[in-house]
């Protein structure tokens, strides 16, 4: 039995201070036992001689200076791991909460992980077909990538994430195993339940590990949640050769928890009150996506975050965008006009796409089609803003063609059913159909040889009716 310390010296928010502690180490985990026998877990966050500051994960409610005994465990926060974790549900701090008992661990792993040596990474190049046209064609998801969804409250980012999980052909044909690690941080109970139900319906539940920290759970646990989830993901990917898709929702709640914790420590705030180390902290989560050289498995991340007030320059989406390899941005106007998924393609991007598409991966014309669609849609926006000033009637014929293209693009390319799973050929052909609505000389991003092969005004015939109807009206 190791030494226990009776009582506390100070309580401040989620932090408690103990004096005369010997032989403790930085970042070590301790266990606090209250006089009624309940136990809480804490972690050392600051040390000054024999005075240590401990952050209590479950909060300090009910703690007094007298009623607590503290025992230091001698190691940093660890997560018990074995393949049994598949199909289980854990709390944000990694304790089973589905009533099925403890995990018999094969090993313990430090949840903070260690930075992955850039030399040992394999540059991700294998694309994941999600069956969603806008993502596959314009911001292709690559295995081992971190590609967040920037959304806002009230938009259907959860539905999109579920569709990706269901349709993503993440595993090789050679039958490598596929798994999902789902971490909920500060989300509503309904949301967590929606994901659980959807996983169940699509029959992947036995391959899912869930970490739930709901919005009324302690915030300190929320800081551990993504780390527990990623430690589990790394274990499954690198030691059991699985392709793991990690869904982290909602990163904004996570950052807010970090801010709350930082201010209770009395740290100097940076922008909007977030701590100055928010970038490094987020990076320590996002950078844990990837593929290790020689390993068969991979960790792909889809973090979801809600932009406060739909503001993409808010520190959380802003810093996230600087770390992740692209972003999928959802747009409220599209959402309100009934387009699903409401992806705003211009600010969306996949940085790894350029090396994972084209001949040998998808199709030779992929990069040309996506460039041209982006360029054309940018012109649509120019035409729209002009139309809002001088009226549609006054637009030049080319601008009118762009307006039509824009409408058809949103209606047929962006918009697709929740159950619709398009192949990459279907998606790219659809792209050419739409581009054929435009005059040939407006397609300045495409090689002449590709134009010869694919461009044909007849392809656009199926949109003609709509266009005619619209022009008459």
């Amino acid at each position: 039995m190791s030494v226990q310390f009776v009582g506390l010296n100070e309580i401040n928010g989620p932090l408690v201070v103990l004096d005369h502690v010997k032989n403790a180490s930085f970042d070590e985990v301790c266990e606090l036992t209250l006089s009624d026998g309940t136990r809480r877990t804490g972690r050392i966050v600051e040390m000054e001689g024999e005075r240590v500051v401990v952050q209590v994960f479950e909060g300090t409610n009910g703690l007094s200076l007298k009623n607590t005994r503290t025992r230091f465990t001698g190691h940093p926060m660890e997560m018990p791991l074995s393949t049994e974790v598949l199909g289980r549900i854990f709390s944000g701090a990694g304790k089973p909460i589905d009533g099925l008992g403890d995990i018999y661990p094969e090993k313990y792993a430090d949840i903070n992980g260690k930075p992955l040596n850039p030399v040992s990474r394999t540059y991700p190049q294998n694309y994941i077909r999600t069956g969603i046209s806008s993502i596959d064609a314009l911001m292709t998801l690559i295995r081992g990538q971190k590609l967040p969804i920037f959304s806002g409250s009230g938009m259907n980012h959860n539905k999109l994430a579920v569709q990706i999980v269901r349709q993503a052909k993440i595993a090789d044909e050679d039958g490598q195993k596929f798994g999902v690690v789902f971490a909920a941080m500060g989300v509503k109970n309904d949301v967590a339940d929606y994901f659980r139900r959807s996983f169940e319906e699509s029959g992947v539940l036995q391959n899912v590990v869930m970490f739930l920290n709901l919005s009324n759970d302690p915030i300190i646990e929320r800081i551990l949640t993504p780390r527990c989830a990623l430690t589990t993901a790394e274990y499954l990917a690198y030691e059991h050769d699985m392709h793991i898709l990690v869904i982290l929702t909602d990163m904004t709640s996570y950052a807010e928890a970090l801010r709350e914790f930082s201010s209770s420590k009395g740290e100097i705030p940076g922008r909007k009150g977030y701590p100055g180390y928010l970038y490094s902290d987020l990076a320590s989560i996002y950078e844990r996506a990837g593929i290790i050289e020689g390993a068969k498995g991979s960790v792909t991340q889809i973090p979801i975050l809600t932009m406060p007030n739909d503001d993409i320059t808010h520190p959380v989406p802003d810093l996230t965008g600087y770390i992740t390899e692209g972003q999928i941005v959802l747009d409220r106007t599209l959402d309100q006009t009934g387009v699903y998924p409401p992806i705003s393609i211009l600010p969306s991007l996949s940085r790894l796409m350029k090396d994972g598409i084209g001949e040998g991966f998808t199709r030779a014309d992929h990069s040309a089609v996506s460039n041209q669609l982006f360029a054309a849609y940018a012109k649509v926006n120019d035409a729209r803003s002009l139309a809002s000033v001088i009226g549609e009637e006054e637009l030049s014929p080319t601008d009118k063609q762009f307006l039509n293209f824009g409408r058809m693009f949103e209606e047929h390319f962006l918009n697709q059913g929740f159950d619709e799973n398009r192949t990459i050929e279907q998606t790219l052909d659809l792209g050419w159909d739409l581009l054929s609505l435009l005059p040939k000389d407006a397609l300045d991003r495409v090689d002449s040889s590709l134009l010869e092969r694919y461009y044909d005004p007849k392809r656009a015939d199926r949109f003609k009716d709509y266009v005619k109807e619209h022009l008459n009206a």
Binding site: F26, K114, S280, D441
Partner: protein, 584 residues
């Protein structure tokens, strides 16, 4: 043992009541011997920033002074290598400890077992001053490494070894100093990273760094020995631009600093550069490149050091007489590391929580660039190209604003251009280069007499277009007279056909200065000819129907760098097509 850890707060530890430490000294912290640096000393406490994760550290563990400041080891083996922020070799670390980086790893920076073919260039009796070359060896297929006497030393050669194979730590030359002491010279030396390496004089800047990127070389050129900043929000292509420059610019050596950026990007540079061939020398690009990778999830204090490590390596190669270009991606992450450490020290913050000494640190860094005459009489240069990642794409934030004061070339990346996939997304209205006057002589001698006048005309057209677009935004383009419509059309050719450049197209990824000039000339020729026809009241719609404008937009793909004679056909095509209008 008095020197023990008293307090720990993230990467900052303090030692109480010690007088053994000096400012900026390198120290070993704790039983694991983590590397740290002294950043504050007073009579009560010594403050140390630790370059590795402090998890598991206990108060009471020893702190050991080394007596020397944070130094980089300089010698053969730096090129084609990848280091972390304090010059530890990442490949070796991966071989020894696996895919994840452990703490307290103590692997020497350079490979001490590799043998080099050394030629000793001095004889006994020669007098050596600091900076003088005493031996050379081929470091890679491309670069001859020159071992130079440390600037701190001076003396007479008393013994030399014969030419042959030597390892980095073998003695090749022995010198005797004035006071009679002898010093043995190996192939490597140490240099404190925070101190600029000395040189004789700075030379005026008059050579461009040719990058093969049209918008840079033509509109906003950078000089060898110059400084440039690339600010841009996420997704605007900072990293992509830096990669393009690292691949194609005509420097002899590239030092690429990945400072707090993505791990996969460094992997990409590693993989891509080993496959790419340098156009000048037909050797692999890795032969002239060294990488400093301190990715965003690696310890933040080492990120702060990585910038200095990088520039020290660059200065070392400059002293050998090479032209070195540094890509620092991104200096904002470095500034944030400063802020983070400053916060832990509870210093009084200035703007947005950044420490008040941010501008002085930035200027110290950028001032280490320059075109110099070195101690040994050779000439070399260090060019710094720093990416800046402004928070929320807001260029008024402190890092961008302060950087702007210390660089002479500003390539502002623009979100709306990037959204339309116009790359490089360098905004031609807000960017600038102060080097144009310095370089005008070079252009006139080496590129063409009319290069500068063509550049000015192109720049004017873009300006006129920007003004016209203000009107078009309000009332549409139909109401403009034909001569103004022509400006908009020709500016479109300039934007899409000239400024926009495709990094993935084999003929377009790098463009020679000759081709850049010819492209400008033909665009301006078309403009002048079309103007004449407009003056004769030929409607612009007819001129557009000739397809000439689209033909010029595609010329960047259709005319390869080696076959510039093809441009003659374009003049013919313009003349013939317009002549046909005349008849009609």
């Amino acid at each position: 043992m008095n020197n023990v850890i008293f307090s720990i707060n993230g990467p900052v530890v303090t030692v109480r009541n010690s007088k053994d430490f000096s400012m900026l000294e390198m120290v070993y912290v704790g039983n694991k011997r983590l590397i740290g640096e002294v950043i504050g000393v007073n009579d009560q406490a010594t403050t140390i920033q630790v370059y590795e994760s402090t998890t598991g550290l206990c108060p009471g563990e020893p702190v050991e002074p080394t007596g020397a400041p944070m130094s980089a080891t300089l010698g053969p083996g730096i090129l084609s290598n990848i280091f972390d922020g304090i010059e530890r070799p990442l490949k070796k670390i991966a071989e020894e400890s696996g895919a994840f980086i452990p703490e307290g790893s103590n692997i020497p920076s350079l490979d001490f077992n590799r043998e080099y073919d050394v030629t000793v260039t001095v004889r006994p009796g020669d007098h050596l001053k600091g900076g003088d070359i005493y031996a050379t060896c081929p470091e890679t297929a491309l670069i001859l490494h020159k071992c130079m006497l440390s600037p701190f030393l001076e003396g007479d050669v008393v013994a030399v070894k014969p030419d042959g194979k030597y390892k980095v730590n073998d003695t090749v030359v022995t010198i005797q100093k004035e006071n009679g002491e002898t010093t043995e010279l190996t192939l490597c030396q140490k240099w404190p990273i925070r101190r600029a390496r000395p040189f004789q004089t700075r030379k005026p800047i008059d050579m461009p760094l040719i990058t093969g990127q049209r918008v840079i070389d033509t509109l906003f050129p950078i000089a060898k020995g110059g400084t440039a900043a690339i600010p841009g929000g996420f997704g605007t292509g900072k990293t992509m631009t830096q990669h393009q420059l690292a691949k194609w610019c005509d420097a002899d050596i590239i030092v690429y600093i990945g400072c707090g950026e993505r791990g996969n990007e460094m992997t990409q540079v590693l993989e891509e550069f080993s496959q790419l061939i340098d156009p000048k020398s037909q050797k692999a690009l890795t032969d002239r490149t060294t990488l400093i990778a301190n990715t965003s999830n690696m310890p933040v204090a080492a990120r702060e050091a990585s910038i200095y490590t990088g520039i020290t390596l660059a200065e070392y190669y400059r002293d050998m007489g090479y032209h070195v270009a540094i890509m620092a991606d991104s200096t904002s992450r470095w500034a944030e590391a400063l802020r983070e450490i400053s916060g832990r020290l509870e210093e009084m913050p200035a703007e947005e929580g950044f420490p008040a000494y941010l501008p002085s640190r930035l200027s110290e860094f950028y001032e280490r660039a320059g075109y110099t005459v070195n101690l040994n009489g050779s000439e070399g240069s260090v060019t710094i190209i720093g990416a800046v990642s402004p928070q929320g794409s807001d260029f008024s934030e402190p890092v961008t604003q302060n950087t702007k004061r210390f660089v002479r070339c500003f390539w502002a990346l623009d979100k709306s251009l990037a959204y339309a996939r116009h790359y490089p997304a360098i905004n031609w209205m807000t960017s600038y280069s102060e080097y144009l006057d310095d370089l005008s002589g070079y252009y006139e001698r080496n590129v063409g007499k009319d290069f500068l006048s063509c550049r000015q005309k192109i720049s004017n057209l873009l300006n006129q277009e920007a003004q016209l677009m203000e009107i078009v935004k309000l009332i549409g383009s139909d109401v403009l007279p034909d001569d103004q419509k022509l400006i908009i059309e020709i500016a479109n050719v300039i934007r899409v056909g000239f400024l926009q450049q495709n990094a993935f197209h084999q003929d377009d990824t790098f463009v020679t200065m000759e081709k850049q000039l010819k492209m400008m000339q033909i665009i301006l020729y078309l403009y002048e000819q079309a103007q004449k026809y407009i003056a004769k009241r030929v409607p612009i719609s007819q001129i557009m129907e000739t397809g000439l404008f689209d033909k010029l937009i595609k010329m960047k793909y259709d005319v390869p760098n080696q076959n510039l004679a093809l441009f003659d056909d374009y003049y013919k095509a313009v003349d013939e097509a317009l002549a046909r209008l005349n008849q009609a």
